[in-house]
């Protein structure tokens, strides 16, 4: 299992680097903007806190794309270069292969989310000696549910398709599709939009988890690598 984890980490390493670089750029732009706006003085603690919250929020929304990337890349990447054929003839079971892929993606996403949580909800209140932005946790939970959606849909598409481009695209478009579907359902059933919006988190998580389970089931049932 350790070797599978190592292999999946190496497969996902370019994505991890891309995501770290993107997040780093967001924070770097935030730092640069703060310094430039306060020049020639240094930014105050509350300026830093504001910068961390705004950069962290941008990074939080970026995790939607990251989870789509990880989900869509997970299985199809090995079909793309045909190395799935090699792996299929080795002893690991499909469940072990999936568990390793999921672990690596989950650890990567958890790391990004830890960073986001620290910069949005933990560090800024400490800097300005204020209570945490509890109210913004609602935004966070909404983003998490969309992350579950993009990851699950990407994972399922990746289990079915042979190249990573389409699964990633499908994953990134899935929140739009779910939103459109909710709006349509609301207008057909004459349900107020505010009420429909309340369902979006639940629908996103349910769709994401269902897609993840369906993709895993399909991968385990499929005989061809």
């Amino acid at each position: 299992m350790t070797r599978l984890l190592w292999k999946d980490y190496r497969l996902n390493r370019p994505l991890v680097i891309l995501c770290v670089a993107t997040c780093g750029l967001v924070y770097l732009v935030g730092v640069g903007t703060q310094i430039a706006s306060a020049w020639p003085q240094l930014p105050s603690s509350s300026d830093w806190a504001g910068m961390l919250v705004s950069s962290g929020t941008v990074a939080m929304y970026l995790t939607i794309c990251f989870s789509g990337l990880f989900g869509g890349h997970a299985i199809a990447c090995e079909r793309g270069d045909r190395s799935a054929n090699f792996l299929a003839c080795l002893p690991p079971t499909k469940l072990q292969i999936l568990a390793s892929k999921l672990t690596v993606s989950a650890v990567a996403m958890a790391s990004f989310w830890s960073c986001v949580l620290l910069t949005v909800y933990v560090i800024p209140p400490a800097l300005v000696s204020q209570p945490s932005h509890v109210g913004e946790l609602a935004t966070g939970s909404g983003v998490v549910s969309i992350c579950v959606l993009t990851f699950g849909v990407g994972w399922m598409a990746s289990a079915v398709l042979d190249k990573t481009t389409l699964p990633i695209l499908v994953a990134l478009l899935s929140p739009v599709a779910v939103s459109i579907a909710l709006i349509l359902v609301g207008s057909v059933l004459r349900i107020p939009q505010a009420r429909v919006s309340e369902w979006s988190n639940l629908v996103s998580v349910t769709t994401g988890l269902s897609a993840f389970i369906a993709g895993s089931w399909y991968y385990c049932r499929r005989v061809e690598p």
Binding site: T2, R3, K7, R82, F86, C89, L90, P91, E224, P225
Partner: protein, 303 residues
């Protein structure tokens, strides 16, 4: 519950059929490979050799029938079978971004009986550089790496799917030497699919000729060469053959020369050809495995 089948053959194909959209790739194949034997699987392109091997490896499901390895159904017990099997495919899909050492470390982790010493010996024999990335290996080196990965855990069944096609003679000889070294005295069952009939002649105890997904002939190599003969008869001018023996694999008439390849040959057959046909002379020739193969495949004999 996993059935423990101690005395079962290494490989059993029971009425195996594989249909693709383009048609039948394998048609009701029944084949048994006893443990410790070496079977040469030969046939023209599209005969169904690679499809059969993919079904044996559990990476392709048969449309009908059952594929069993060591008595276990591949469809249900692939994970139990794979640690006991070494496989050198026709196309080597090893992770291109790994180095040779990384591939070896990665693969060895899944085999409890990985022989580090033997692996090192093969690396030296093949002059494989552990630091080189797989994507930078030549075709010959990739084949050698693939063989090293397949045999370093001393598999009970070694499956070779046209591994030496397109190799230069030196790499080819290195490859065969390593195969012989790895299977010698270990009771390894070998299933070797190849277009190189010299390799089959050198390695195999028995041979199976496939055409259009069906077995044309299956038997011991020596037994086959002893029983399949070519008969050249010179016909009397203006006459055609009257009696064609049963077991004729192929026949051709050019002017007065009548060439027949027959299975189950014995001396009385030549005498009967003389008696029953308007011939001036009858000569009998031995055939090479290549000639037997060509006559079976081109002769149009029904399986």
């Amino acid at each position: 519950m996993i059935p423990v089948v101690a005395e079962s053959p290494a490989v059993e194909l029971l009425g195996v059929t594989k249909k693709f959209r383009g048609g039948l790739a394998v048609d009701n194949l029944n084949l048994t490979v006893p443990r410790g034997s070496t079977l040469g699987l030969i046939g023209p392109n599209g005969a169904g050799k690679s499809t059969t091997i993919r079904m044996l490896m559990g990476t392709l499901a048969p449309s009908l029938g059952q594929v069993r390895v060591f008595g276990l159904n591949v469809a249900n017990h692939a994970a139990r079978i794979r640690p006991r099997v070494g496989y050198v495919p026709e196309r080597h899909d090893v992770y291109p971004w790994m180095t040779v050492s990384e591939v070896i470390a990665f693969t060895s982790a899944f085999y409890p009986h990985w022989d580090v010493g033997f692996c090192r010996e093969l690396m030296d024999l093949f002059a494989l550089d552990g630091r080189k990335a797989v994507k930078h290996l030549s075709k010959g080196m990739l084949v050698k790496l693939s063989l090293l990965l397949a045999v370093s855990h001393h598999p009970e069944l070694l499956i070779l799917d046209e591994p030496t096609s397109g190799l230069d003679p030196i790499v080819h000889d290195d490859f065969l030497e390593a195969v012989l070294r790895s299977v010698c005295g270990r009771g390894t069952t070998v299933l070797h699919s190849s277009h190189n009939l010299e390799d089959i002649r050198r390695l195999a105890d028995s041979v199976c000729i496939l055409r259009a997904g069906r077995i044309l002939v299956h038997g011991g190599v020596d037994q086959l060469l002893a029983s399949v003969k070519r008969i050249r008869a010179v016909l009397i001018d203006g006459h055609l053959p009257r009696w064609v023996p049963d077991g004729t694999v192929s026949q051709k008439i050019q002017r007065r020369e009548w060439l027949l390849t027959v299975d189950r040959f014995d001396k009385s057959l030549a005498d009967r050809i003389r008696r029953e046909n308007p011939v001036e002379s009858v000569d009998v020739f031995d055939l090479s495995l290549g000639e037997v193969f060509k006559d079976y495949v081109l002769g149009g004999a029904e399986p």
